[in-house]
Symmetry: C2
Subunit: 180 residues, 2 copies
DNA sequence: TCGCACATGTAACGCGTTACATGATTAC
DNA sequence: GTAATCATGTAACGCGTTACATGTGCGA
């Protein structure tokens, strides 16, 4: 297996395991589906598509539709590569959470400022939860018979659980700040 | 205010707002306290200490103890810089969670493989929760009268809430996998 | 006709990690 | 004496983002 593939490359292989897509469509699909835990920038995406094509893990086909676009498709070799990556235990990702860092040093400023940050997060989280619930309902209808459904639901549930935990924590933190 | 400071620089200023420390001590303190949401590598830390010193945000003092070390101290200017940064609403950090990405593409491999990843996370999370609870008890004793205590407890509670949510989610996900 | 969505790419830059490099002190 | 901890730094590299660059087709 190839060891020099980046995570971006595997993300692409994964997306193409769902359906053949153009670069633009991969971006769009990721934004709709994985943006809560994974995203790619154009600057990473397009060079990687070229690279994967050269390596024979995907094939490119110019579509003859109205707009010129290259539709990429996973090859058997590409699928194998993806599968072998999926078996490897995920690396524990190092998180850098600026919000937490600022709160950790919070004693240097007024509790009001810290509370404002928390309120912001509270709001953002509520919006995210709403979106996740909508997506969930939608998925259950549109992907009723898809093999992917259980896995996609699992990732959505993750977002929901984490979101709910954040909301609970925000309330608790605001309470602590009142007496700080 | 200086706009060219990296997050590493602010993390350093923050640590020095707690107490004067050497580079090594900053690393050590971070590992013990913020590693769940923030960490720095040597390659970032030492050059930034030099830079912050030149900018007059911190001062360096060679200690005359047994081991030669440079003890850095926050200047008034440095404290101001830190405070102004703390006021800025934290950027929403873009997360790249490899575990979630692998699960999202989980249909490409057996449910057994996906379950193994989940079990791993379950275990890691339990260990983390245990450590957090220990730290919490310890903190409450050792920092009883510290101004930092409420803020440090808030960040610990975050880890605990998130950890518990992960555990709940793991169980749910494993249940979904049984029927996948 | 004007703006948005579609569509693909490159270049420069910055951040962060890893590995390298070195050496003193302390505890066993 | 030897391993772990204390202690500080540099260099190379890779990844990822942002900005740049360009152009088409469709709908209001």
């Amino acid at each position: 297996m190839m060891n020099n593939l980046t995570k971006t490359a595997f993300a692409i292989l994964g997306m193409l395991s769902i359906a053949p897509m153009s670069g633009y469509e991969i971006q769009h699909t990721m934004k709709k589906s994985t943006s809560n835990f994974w995203s790619e920038s154009d600057g990473q995406l397009y060079p990687n598509l070229t690279k994967l094509n050269k390596l024979g893990l995907i094939t490119a086909k110019e579509s003859i539709t109205a707009r010129a676009k290259k539709v990429y498709r996973l090859t058997a070799k590409g699928k194998k590569e993806l599968q072998s990556w999926l078996q490897v235990e995920p690396e524990k990702h190092v998180v850098r959470n600026e919000m937490m860092l600022k709160l950790f040093f919070g004693a240097n400023v007024s509790s009001k400022i810290n509370a404002e940050h928390l309120h912001q997060l509270q709001y953002q989280t509520k919006v995210m939860l709403q979106q996740l619930n909508e997506t969930k309902t939608q998925l259950k209808h549109e992907q009723k018979s898809s093999l992917h459904l259980p896995y996609w639901l699992i990732t959505i549930q993750y977002g929901i659980h984490i979101g709910q935990a954040k909301l609970k924590w925000c309330e608790e933190a605001l309470e602590i700040l009142k007496h700080a």
